[in-house]
């Protein structure tokens, strides 16, 4: 468990924040660029000393400004993955990997070199110099290098930001797998909601150096009031579900959740696996009558529980279909349908609108 309380004034930003990060899960620190995310990681790692602060990791105090405690970064045992991988250019991959291994604190479970090399598929790269690696490979080496120090927490600062989208798709599964393979606590900084939904269990929403909300990804994403911060375009509910089956003939994956079964256009995943899926508000439409004979595969009946109509030509409507989901419709439809809180509606979700990219495992 990581406990953080910070106050620091930068020339262009003042940070004043308190939060806790649970053990053995991925917590996303989400906010727009310039909201102070990277600065917070720099302070947690010890690379920046804040004006005021208290940081505790697994009951070890690493920073306590009041009592003048400041553990220097190299003694904190915190892993840090930077946006640019920062591999040492004069060392080959294997030497980069081994760089931090000497400083391992034996009290913590040892992460084995062989296992890291296998998991991150680095076997063929060991003798190469960083200049001969692709962006995605560099980042995998950087992750492995940090893991090998057996960190108490792994800080990741937009590790996918400087990688092109194809490489990103290649490296995401590795980050998803870290949790299963190494049981490590991760604080993941990102400004991409898609990445957060895919990777994180919990999220902390920050804006201008302050915490706006904290909770599970599902909770935060179902809050209409937070849309200005989570981003209107990709806004939409996130629901937890379990893989039920895969229809080979139509290549449809069925996910069971509290509101029923959701069919999505994604490749096979192991049955029984817990997943999170993002249903964008713009992909959900509403009907007052039970729709028949149409192309929509996913239709759920529910009652309207919240309406956000103060943003121009669009209206966001939260419908309880067992779990809250969110629909965005035009103001014209909203008024013609006479929708209000309590109205029973049918929410329709196109199966093709949800693919593997919207599913976090």
């Amino acid at each position: 468990m990581l406990k953080v309380a910070l106050k620091h004034v930068f020339p262009s930003l003042s940070i004043d924040i308190q939060f806790e990060v649970e053990k053995n899960c991925i917590t996303a620190l989400f906010g727009k660029s310039g909201s102070g995310k990277t600065s917070i990681l720099n302070i947690i790692s010890g690379l920046v000393k804040p004006d005021y602060g208290y940081i505790e990791i697994d009951n070890n105090v690493t920073l306590d400004a009041k009592n003048n405690i400041f553990i220097p970064p190299h003694k904190r045992n915190i892993g840090y993955i930077f946006q640019d991988s920062r591999l040492f250019p004069h060392l080959n991959v294997l030497s980069n990997l081994k760089y931090g291994m000497n400083s391992i604190n034996t009290k913590h479970p040892i992460i084995q070199l062989d296992k890291v090399i296998n998991t991150l598929e680095l076997g063929n790269l060991l003798n190469r110099k960083p200049s001969k690696l692709s962006g995605g490979e560099k980042q995998r080496v950087a992750i492995a290098r940090s893991l090998l120090t057996c960190p108490r927490i792994l800080l990741m600062d937009e590790p996918l930001a400087s990688i092109d989208s194809q490489m990103r798709a290649e490296i995401l599964p590795f980050i998803e797998g870290l949790q299963n393979e190494f049981k490590i606590t991760v604080l993941y900084v990102s400004h991409s909601i898609e990445e957060v939904i895919r990777l994180a269990d919990k999220m902390i929403l920050i804006s201008e150096g302050k915490k706006e909300a904290q909770g599970s990804v599902e909770q935060i994403m179902s809050r209409l009031d937070l849309y200005p911060l989570t981003g209107r375009f990709d806004a939409g509910a996130v629901i937890s579900a379990k893989v039920e089956g895969f229809d080979k003939q139509f290549e449809l994956l069925s996910l069971s959740f509290e509101g029923g079964t959701l069919l999505v256009n994604a490749s096979n995943l192991p049955i029984g696996k817990h997943v999170r899926t993002h249903i964008r508000a713009r992909d959900v439409s509403l009907s007052l009558k039970s729709p028949s004979k149409n192309s929509i595969l996913n239709i759920f009946k529910g009652n309207i529980i919240e309406i956000n109509s103060n943003s121009g030509p669009q209206v966001e409507i939260k419908v309880d279909i067992g779990v809250p989901i969110i629909a965005r419709i035009t103001r014209k439809s909203f008024e013609e349908m006479h929708l209000s809180i309590g109205t029973t509606v049918y929410a329709m979700i196109k199966a093709v609108a949800i693919n593997r990219r919207n599913i976090g495992v």
């Binding site: 970064p73 190299h74 931090g100 400083s103 001969k132």
Partner: protein, 230 residues
């Protein structure tokens, strides 16, 4: 032309010895100074930077004069050296090495400083988060990355030492067998009637030594760069 006279061998040996010790002396000090100038900002930085670079812009004779005043037998430091350690620098090859060292110091510092400034500090931050102490970072990251800079610093100051004339002749004079390095020997020959032929032989020798040093350094630098880039 092929067989060298004793005098010529003596001059070459002396020149290389003086240049070698001069580099040996300036390297650690130059590394430290370069690191301070590249990384630290402090009160009096400009003044310190100015003093380090002074030998580059002052007439060598002025430097020689200062050395004579400070390290000469009656100078404040020279006096202590003479009385406590029985060391006399004037009229000795050690004095010539010191004169060369002072003159070539700014070249060493500049070459290394540029390469330290070229290192991305972010790499050192990354090393910190991997548990490396400042000392480990210095020898495992900083030093290997500035190695090409160190080589070029060593070459520049070696070459500068080989060619040092003004400060040397002012400080330690031109003593046969003790301080008559290549440039000083060339000067002596030119001063003697009919000495031009001998001077020319030494000039050619100087060119050969300088070229050899240059080629060696180019080779080492490109090898070091290659090992950095893989």
């Amino acid at each position: 032309m092929l067989s060298l006279t004793n005098l010529e061998i003596e001059a070459i040996e002396l020149s290389i010895k003086v240049a070698f010790y001069s580099v040996l002396f300036t390297l650690p000090l130059g590394l430290l100074t370069a690191w301070i100038l590249a990384r630290k900002k402090f009160y009096g930085y400009t003044l310190f930077n100015g003093i380090v670079h002074l030998p580059l812009v002052l007439p060598p004779v002025v430097v020689g004069f200062f050395l004579l005043t400070l390290l000469g037998r009656n100078g404040p430091i020279g006096n202590i050296l003479k009385n406590t350690f029985d060391i006399t620098l004037v009229f000795s090859w050690q004095g010539a090495a010191i004169a060369s060292a002072v003159m070539s110091f700014p070249l060493m510092v500049r070459a290394i400083k540029i390469s330290i400034e070229g290192i991305d500090l972010k790499l050192e931050y990354a090393a910190r988060t991997l548990g490396a102490s400042s000392i480990k970072i210095f020898y495992s990251i900083t030093l290997p990355l500035i190695f090409p800079g160190i080589i070029s610093g060593v070459l520049l100051s070696f070459a500068r030492s080989l060619g040092e004339f003004g400060a040397t002749i002012t400080f330690v004079s031109n003593i046969p067998g003790e301080t008559n390095t290549l440039p000083l020997s060339i000067y002596s020959f030119i001063q003697t009637p009919e000495g031009e032929a001998n001077a020319l032989r030494l000039v050619i020798l100087s060119i050969i030594i300088a070229m050899a040093a240059l080629i060696t350094s180019e080779y080492l630098t490109s090898k070091a760069k290659k090992s950095l880039e893989g």
